[in-house]
């Protein structure tokens, strides 16, 4: 080993992999400029990493996708109850009702009772809102089902087409690789005088 730093030489693997901080990187670069041994080590690493970079990313044979299964989705009243504010309001309402029915009657009999005031317009607007919300929910569910079905059919057709194309290109790739290997082996044998393996 000719590097004068010996055990304190820069960590060239971390350097080549981009893991050194700016200062360590600068120190390493100023050292390598004057050290043949470290130049060799770094060149070897770079050639290896360059070779590894030739490995291409492959495409997926088919895309991954998930569909929303309406059977397992919560119903509208379950969704409402999943909301913490609605659940809390529901519990409070239930508590008030229970209290109203089970508490002891302490009002003197001779005290006149107030007449119950029924706000019909408020009830009507609440019912209308509830019916509208349910209708919208049902319509959204129907549309979603139709869209999901259409998307699934399209994806199925695309998957089939992709599989066919992929299969054809894989065959071409294999054939090309075999052909190239044979050619290179033949040329190498001709150049070196060795028999064709």
């Amino acid at each position: 080993m000719s590097c004068k730093l010996e055990d304190r030489r820069p960590d060239w693997k971390s350097y080549a992999l981009g893991e050194l901080d700016a200062r360590a990187r600068q120190e390493a670069e100023s050292h390598v400029a004057a050290c043949a041994d470290c130049q060799d080590e770094l060149a070897g690493l770079r050639v290896t990493l360059d070779a590894m970079a030739t490995l291409r990313e492959e495409e997926l044979p088919r895309r991954i996708a998930f569909v929303s299964d309406k059977v397992f989705e919560p119903r509208w009243y379950q969704k409402l109850f999943l909301r913490p504010s609605f659940a809390a309001a529901g519990l409070i309402a239930a508590a008030i009702l229970v209290h109203a029915f089970v508490r002891p009657v302490s009002t003197p009999a001779n005290v006149p009772q107030p007449m119950a005031q029924v706000d019909t317009s408020a009830i009507e607007s609440r019912v209308t809102a509830e019916v509208t919300a349910r209708l919208q929910s049902e319509m959204a569910a129907t549309i979603n089902t139709a869209v999901t079905k259409a998307v699934a059919e399209t994806e199925k057709r695309d998957d089939h087409r992709t599989a066919l194309l992929l299969s054809a290109s894989e065959r071409r790739y294999t054939d090309a690789a075999d052909f190239l290997n044979k050619q290179v082996t033949r040329i190498y044998a001709l150049n070196t005088g060795a028999g064709v393996r």
């Binding site: 590894m52 492959e58 997926l60 290179v184």
Partner: protein, 183 residues
Amino acid sequence: MIFREVEDRDLIAKARQGDVEAYNLLVSRWEKRIFNYLLRLVSNREDALDISQETFLKAYQNLRKLDDPARFSAWLFRIAHNEAFSLLRRRKPESELSEPRPRDFGGRLLPIELSLAVESAFKVLSEDQREAVLLKVYQGFKFDEMAEILEIPVSTVKSRLYTALDLLKATLAPTVFRKGGLA
């Protein structure tokens, strides 16, 4: 108005509320990386695709357990790692029968041959070493992220990776260095 692409964390937030389409968009962003990582790890296209699907399904089921959406990629690769090694452990007896040998490529190399030589050289690595190379060189994770994915100390990550690089360099040297190098 500044156009801003939808971030992963926004998609994660929507998917957590049950928005399957948001999750599908998230899958489309990561499926190729996950598939290629698994493909190099398990060396079989069908297995890699099956495990990719399983990985994304488990990720969806456990999305609420993800504490920090910014760590989604490391968390996703952790799931993929667990699924892959579960398969590799099941297959172990079969794969131990075959002794991997790097192929010999003569002459000056063309890119396609070089990539075949690299694929062949990967077979001399142990699964742990190969995975370290995949996460660092092909997926670009930092040492500390790899330590999180693999649940091992950073020192072990570096040790696996450095040994793998030495082995790859030695295995590829006869083809890359002596016989003319890159075309």
